[in-house]
């Protein structure tokens, strides 16, 4: 999948852990810059820098009220990431669904040979 530069791509924007933290906070509702600075324990310039990146990719919206600047989440661009993960997630799920069947058989065998540790006690054996 082709990617654009940091400033235009949600993938890049959320690659930074602090920016994800900001999104997590905003998921709880609109926050002022001051509130974000307090919650994150980062300097205001650094928070502002992260907010600028998030804003440029459209992940946050901004609103000025008096001297305060408020940010809120706009999750739309995140959909591209979720969509990207879907086929991989499905492939993993198919694999584990088959593992369920194998495990169900192991369980049945273990029930049949209950008390016979020689047969199926592998997981319990000290290494």
């Amino acid at each position: 999948m082709a990617r654009a530069a940091t400033t235009t791509d949600a993938f890049n924007a959320v690659a930074e852990p602090r920016r994800r933290e900001i999104l997590d906070l905003l998921a709880g509702g609109e926050r002022s810059v001051t509130e974000l600075v307090e919650s994150l324990g980062l300097s205001q310039p650094l928070v502002s820098k992260h907010l600028r990146v998030l804003r440029e990719v459209g992940l946050v919206r901004v609103r000025d009220e008096g001297r305060q600047r408020f940010y809120r989440l706009n999750a739309g661009p995140l959909r591209s990431i979720a969509t990207w993960l879907v086929p991989f997630e499905r492939a993993m799920s198919e694999r584990f669904d088959l593992m369920d069947d194998v495990i169900a058989e192991l369980k049945a065998q273990e029930d049949d040979t209950h008390g016979d540790d020689d047969q199926l006690g592998e997981g319990h054996a000290p290494d």
Binding site: V86, E89, A91, E94, F96, D101, I103, D127
Partner: protein, 160 residues
């Protein structure tokens, strides 16, 4: 038969990682057994992508593993790696190399935690670069994307 409807959850904790979690309706030692026994691996590892033709496991630190899948499309897909940490039945660390792109080495940490007779499997896959990580995710497109397109088409047809 334990046909749980749990699907695997995939998240991207950092730029170079993939985190996969899945719950199983079974105690941990059985999940471990299914996860590490060659003839059992052969039954699940291929998913719906094809048939596992070989599963070699030398389960000791420094030992190697290699799985080969004959994909439905006719080609062969092989992965191999080395075991770095083994703590049965709760933790396994191994490298993972896709033989079609051997320069991208992954380190996979698999953890099994049991609670109330159920087991949660978590797999943290760490790659050297984001490009490798992304290529691994993209590899899921092969079968999966087509299926999701087919499903989408069915939905679209049903709406007509």
């Amino acid at each position: 038969m334990a046909t749980t409807t749990n699907s695997a959850k995939v998240t991207l904790p950092t730029d170079t990682q993939i985190l996969i979690t899945r719950e199983f309706d079974a105690p941990r030692h059985l999940v471990w057994k299914a996860y590490t026994t060659p003839d059992l691996i052969a039954r699940w590892w291929g998913g719906s992508h094809g048939k596992v033709t070989s599963a070699e496991v030398d389960l000791r630190v420094g030992g190697t593993w290699r799985y080969v899948l004959a994909a439905n499309e006719g080609f062969e897909v092989a992965f191999h790696g080395e075991y770095q940490e083994i703590s049965a039945p709760d933790r396994l660390v191994n490298t993972e190399i896709y033989e079609g792109a051997p320069e991208g080495v992954g380190v996979v940490t698999t953890t099994l935690t049991e609670a109330g007779g159920r087991t949660t499997l978590t797999q943290l896959c760490e790659y050297g670069t984001r490009e490798v990580r992304d290529a691994v995710i993209d590899s899921g497109m092969e079968g999966g994307m087509q299926e999701s397109m087919d499903a989408l088409e069915q939905v679209a047809v049903s709406l007509r």
